[in-house]
Amino acid sequence: MKHLFVLDGQEYELWLGRDACGYRLLLDQERIPVALASDGCGRDRLTVGRVSVPALAAVDGDVVHVHVDGVTRSLRWVDPIARYAAHSGASLDDIIVAPMPGTVISVLVEPGHEVARGETLVVIESMKLETAIKAPRDATIDLVHVSPGRTFDRSAPLVTLAPASEG
């Protein structure tokens, strides 16, 4: 599987492999040597094929900022696990179930409420442990299945979210 990079909103699929002198870029069956060498004083030199230019590079998580010829480009690597996840509208995740049996301490939402990802929906207690059940995404509440003081089993539905709209 090739690496996927995003540059200026455009996706690029390519393979950057290691070789003895640095890296080699596999682009349409062509193998181009690539190297980024530091001169030890904070300056870098970027070599692509036979071209070698002064450059500055900084890495911030999955984003690499490269400054060449007075222009800065930001290259973002996309994790293939996230990229190939199917983002269909309705999913099992829309029904939020109890992670363990217990008692409802408080219910903080009603059907129709808009909630943001991470917002607490219900607080439960089990084995002396209070657990806040939080919204996995921005959503509208469709159904609330429990009320304060009620007990429930493991995997019992607590709250159902309205399916996420496409786009």
């Binding site: 363990m100 049996p101 990802r117 991470g118 084995m127 442990l129 657990t131």
Partner: protein, 534 residues
């Protein structure tokens, strides 16, 4: 894949947790500082009069400058002996001398003349156990008045009392792990065996002495009158008896000689495990303060903790959809690959099975394991018993006990019931076990236990015809609850040396890196287990 944090760092909840946990960390630093440096003036004056250095100054001379020192059990004995024996009267830790990773044990003569209390012995035995398990050479800085006689019954005769020190020294030697003792003060009676059982020892002329009985005891036993130097000083032992190897004129010279001895040690090859170039976590470790809730009863997602400890916040989660109350997966810490097992709620049948399976994977492929505890126990109730929660819990315990890869445990929050055992509690030979300041540990939560104990007492009184007012019930319940809370606190736990020290949460990554580095000095056996009840 990088963990995606779901924490809202601008929320009121986060800020309140931040303030609370920063406060706990500040309290920890104050307590540690006190235990390390604060001594009554008369004790420091006495050392100066005797021409001796304070233990911390000795350590500064001994260690390579600008290298990390993983000090262990700094707050041992903080709740014992009326708080008068800071650090249990000695310093232990892993440091770098002449580029070698070594275990250091140093008597602290500014505390009761370096007398060994029961917890002093326990701390020294633990230091030597760590040295044996991780094949670490040991440097002893000896300066002790000997066993604290009023408490001799609690430190002399039993299996893990003082005799264990010398047994451990002999085992280290047998396993070709060298030791150096620097005799900086008196080594009397049992203390004399520390340098005698070390491969190398250095003794300071004038202040260092080794003898089975000091001059007063000799006078009482035989009538012989003899000075300290004539009985067991540097020249006696390096010229006549051969008990010591190198005489030194000053403490500084003795430490320099010891450093030179350590420089002769073979630098062992570390065990090769999967490694990557280290990278800092993507999420700021300071955010840990805002993640751990103020109330120990409130749950939080342990992935948020993992994200602030591991390289690049990257985590390959194993079985993400199964047994979700235990998070398992692979990550790197300072470049070392580790398997992480972290509680995200109560342990069920499926989470126990997942744990046992994941531990076998780690053992099969030589991946050290990190346990992050926040556990209220295994799930109780008819359904769960019928499904065999006890036998599945037993599988997990069988797997953890039979594991051969290094285990390191961090008591992040609660540690209650058998969950403590399944998650590599103290009894399961973790190479290192650290705690966070808010950590609580006990057979069950304080309130449950206090209720049980108070109910028994109230029923006894009722059987004798007494009826109790709510005030009387409270009067029975409160002291029980108070004592239970005291005994389940992190400071009590560390006082009793149930752990290797309390960490400021932001230091966890560094402590784990140092502990992993130390653990890789020892070979890993092939995994083998007892019988898993199916």
């Amino acid at each position: 894949m990088r963990i995606e944090s779901r924490i809202d760092t601008s929320s009121e909840e986060f800020r309140a947790n931040m303030a609370h946990n920063r406060g706990l960390a500040a309290e920890l630093r104050t307590r540690q500082n006190k235990a390390r440096f604060e001594r009554p003036a008369r004790d420091i004056d006495r050392l100066t009069r005797q021409n001796k250095l304070f233990v911390r100054d000795r350590l500064n001379l001994l260690l390579d400058p600008d290298t990390p020192f993983l000090e262990l059990s700094t707050l041992a004995a903080n709740m014992e002996y009326d708080g008068e024996v800071p650090g249990a009267g000695n310093v232990i830790g892993i440091g770098i001398i002449a580029g070698r990773e070594v275990m250091i044990h140093a008597d602290d003569a500014s505390v009761k003349g370096g007398a060994w209390y029961p917890l002093t012995i326990k701390k020294m035995v633990r230091a030597l156990d760590i040295a044996i398990e991780n094949r670490l050479p040991v440097v002893h800085l000896c300066d002790s008045a000997g066993g604290f006689l009023p408490l001799q019954a609690d430190l002399f005769a039993d299996k893990y009392y003082a005799g264990r020190l010398f047994r451990n020294q002999a085992i280290l030697s047998k396993r070709r792990i060298p030791q150096v003792a620097i005799v900086l003060g008196h080594c009397t009676a049992g203390g004399a065996y520390i340098p005698a059982l070390s491969e190398y020892n250095v003794i300071v002329r004038g202040t260092g002495a080794i003898f089975l009985g000091g001059p007063p005891l000799v006078k009482a036993a035989t009538g012989e009158e003899v000075t300290v130097d004539e009985l067991g000083g540097a020249d006696v032992h390096t010229r006549i008896s051969g008990t010591a190897d190198y005489p030194a004129d000053t403490e500084q010279q003795a430490i320099a000689i010891a450093r030179d001895i350590v420089a002769q040690f073979r630098r062992p090859d570390k065990l090769r495990i999967e490694r990557l170039p280290p990278a800092p976590p993507y999420y700021d470790p300071e955010e840990l303060y805002g993640i751990v809730p103020r109330d120990i009863k409130v749950q939080f997602d342990m992935r948020e903790v993992i994200a602030r400890i591991v390289d690049g916040s990257r985590f390959h989660e194993y079985q993400p959809a199964y047994g979700t109350t235990l998070v398992c997966g692979y990550a790197h810490i300072w470049g070392y690959q580790v398997g992480i097992l972290a509680n995200n709620g109560v342990l069920f049948n499926d989470s126990s099975l997942k744990a046992a399976h994941f531990m076998q994977l780690c053992n099969q492929h030589c991946v050290p394991m990190i346990f992050l505890q926040n556990i209220t126990g295994y799930m109780v109730g008819r359904d769960y018993e019928h499904r065999g929660i006890t036998k599945d819990g037993a599988k997990m315990i069988m797997a953890v006990a039979g594991s051969e890869v290094p285990k390191i445990t961090v008591m992040v929050n609660g540690s209650f019931g058998a969950g403590n055992y399944g998650m590599a509690g103290r009894a399961f030979d973790s190479r290192f076990l650290f705690a966070w300041p808010q950590h609580q540990i006990s057979v069950m939560g304080a309130e449950q236990a206090a209720n049980v104990l108070a109910d028994i007492k109230i029923r006894q009184l009722q059987r004798h015809g007494q009826t109790l007012t709510p005030e009387q019930v409270a009067a029975i319940r409160e002291p029980i609850l108070e004592e239970y809370r005291r005994q389940s606190s992190a400071y009590y736990s560390t006082s009793e040396i149930w752990d290797d020290g309390i960490l400021d949460p932001v230091d966890t990554r560094n402590a784990l890196g140092l502990a992993l580095s130390a653990a890789l000095n020892a070979e890993i056996d092939r995994p083998h287990y007892g019988v898993f009840r199916m």
